[in-house]
């Protein structure tokens, strides 16, 4: 999810800083890290934050299943945190797809997944949202890109790439790579 409010029409002209292979490798590395840090997959659930984190979570889940074929894979869900945002009334909000959490959050190790970590407010909303489903044993955060400029004390546990950016820039992440566009004038 792009974090800049005014980036509506996608700027085609931008700098590609990561390619598809970089993204793929980052996901593979993060998948290994998640398994290692949690000593396996018991009780672990990946929850993609809508809308940008959903595809990332799916790729991570697929990669985890590939690395650990003898397990049943990791639990996977998606979360719409738009009803928990702290900027309601300041910007237009359209809820995305309905949250889909088929497993029990209570006592689970929830790994929130997003494409870009920026101010941290989206993650804060997601933490509040998860809390309304139950009390997880712990919550971890996985992102493909950390672009800095945190406004809240939120830190990721798994990062694909650290990319310092200016706040006028915007960052787009897809399976094809990472593009930085905009920039000061």
């Amino acid at each position: 999810m792009t974090n800049t409010p005014d980036e509506q029409s996608a700027e085609p002209a931008g700098k590609q800083v990561l390619g598809p292979d970089d993204v793929r490798r980052a996901i593979t590395r993060m998948a290994h890290e998640i398994i290692e840090r949690n000593r396996g997959l018991a009780g672990v659930a990946l929850v993609g934050i809508q809308t940008g984190g959903v595809w990332v979570a799916e790729l991570l889940a697929a990669e985890i299943a590939r690395i650990e074929p003898e397990t049943d894979g990791v639990l996977l869900g998606s979360l719409d945190a738009s009803l928990y945002r702290d900027d309601i009334g300041l910007r237009p909000v359209t809820p995305g797809t309905v949250s889909d959490l088929t497993f029990t959050v209570e006592g689970a190790t929830v790994v929130l997944v997003d494409d870009v970590l920026y101010t941290g407010r989206t993650v804060r909303s997601a933490l509040d949202a998860i809390g309304d489903y139950g009390r997880p044993k712990s919550v971890q955060l996985a992102v493909i890109v950390d672009r800095g400029h945190r406004e809240l004390p939120i830190r990721p546990d798994y990062v694909g790439k650290n990319l310092p950016t200016s706040s006028e820039e915007s960052v787009t992440v897809t399976a094809e790579g990472v593009v930085i566009s905009g920039g000061g004038s």
Partner: protein, 314 residues
């Protein structure tokens, strides 16, 4: 001035569809053990009910609270209404206390539109006179959408709406919404209970249409109408237009039976509703909370006038 929800025709089809899809989110919230989200924290919703209506008022109040909004209630039955204080003074006084939205139900058609001139708060029409009841139409549409899994639209669905159409704001709004989504609506009613000069899509014989419908929508037949010589007596009404056991037996398994409530047992509903296979009346009530949460969120929480234009910012 803030946006308001006054009628289905003013809402339009894009707005109608948008509210139905937001209602899906609210339905999910309401399935949780703790059905509450902080989306409207700090907002105040005032229920301004000039007609007795516990059910609708509770539905709106619950909806507001589940979105973490604060609520105020001003309930006035017509007989105790102080004729000295005008509607305008009442509204301006309450608005001065700091209200983000008024939910108004009034016995006079047009009252919610007049409110718009006296306050900058959002106005939600919870029913005005015989004229409109947009949130009822929304919950009716949402109920059909989920019961029949019709997310795209209602093309080909045939609805028979039976009863006192003339005095029914539910009939007007719900019919309009059904048509917006592509359904075909037939009104079934004696001439005396139809709006004057309305001629299309009307039959006065329920048995004529019973075999060819997908949705049977029953309207309340009020006992007060007896005093106005609109039908000779209730027994005759039930014989001609009521859902009797004989008619219920003829209804196809697939036919949804709907009613805006409260039901007059033995009149329009002359059979035990729990015996009807297609009875979705309780779902209507549940969905009332879902759609009213969607409406409140859309007007107060989703940010700006852009929202109904449907431009998604993610």
């Amino acid at each position: 001035m803030s946006r308001s929800l006054l009628s289905i025709s003013e809402l339009g089809e894009p707005g109608l569809r948008r509210l139905l899809s937001i209602a899906d989110h609210m339905a999910e919230v309401n399935r949780r053990p703790n059905p509450k989200v902080p989306a409207l924290r700090g907002k105040t919703v005032c229920n301004l009910f000039f007609e007795d209506s516990t059910r609708t008022r509770l539905s709106f109040e619950t909806a507001a609270k589940r979105l973490s909004a604060d609520t105020m209630n001003f309930a006035v039955s017509q007989s105790s209404l102080n004729k000295g204080e005008s509607l305008r003074d009442t509204v301006e006084t309450i608005a001065a206390m700091g209200v983000d939205a008024f939910v108004i139900r009034h016995g006079s058609s047009g009252a919610p539109w007049q409110l718009g001139a006296w306050t900058n708060a959002s106005v939600i029409n919870a029913g005005d006179g015989w004229h409109a009841h947009p949130t009822q139409a929304l919950l009716d549409m949402y109920t059909v959408r989920t019961a029949l899994n019709r997310l795209e639209g209602f093309d080909g669905l045939r609805v028979a709406m039976v009863g006192d159409i003339k005095h029914s704001r539910v009939a007007r709004s719900t019919t309009e919404a059904f048509k917006m989504l592509g359904a075909d609506v037939t009104w079934v009613s004696p001439r005396t209970l139809l709006p004057p000069s309305h001629k299309e899509h009307v039959v006065s014989n329920l048995d004529e249409v019973l075999d060819d419908i997908d949705i049977l929508y029953l309207l309340r037949m009020q006992k007060e109408r007896m005093n106005e010589a609109l039908v000779p007596n209730l027994r005759e009404y039930t014989t001609r237009f009521g859902l009797t056991p004989e008619r219920a037996a003829r209804l196809g398994d697939h036919v949804l039976v709907m009613h805006p409530g409260p039901m007059n047992r033995g009149v329009e509903m002359a059979v035990d509703p729990s015996e009807l296979r297609g009875n979705v009346i309780n779902q209507q009530v549940t969905n009332g909370i879902n759609v009213r949460m969607a409406v409140l969120f859309d007007l107060l929480g989703s940010g700006s006038e852009n929202s109904l234009a449907g431009s998604p910012e993610s």
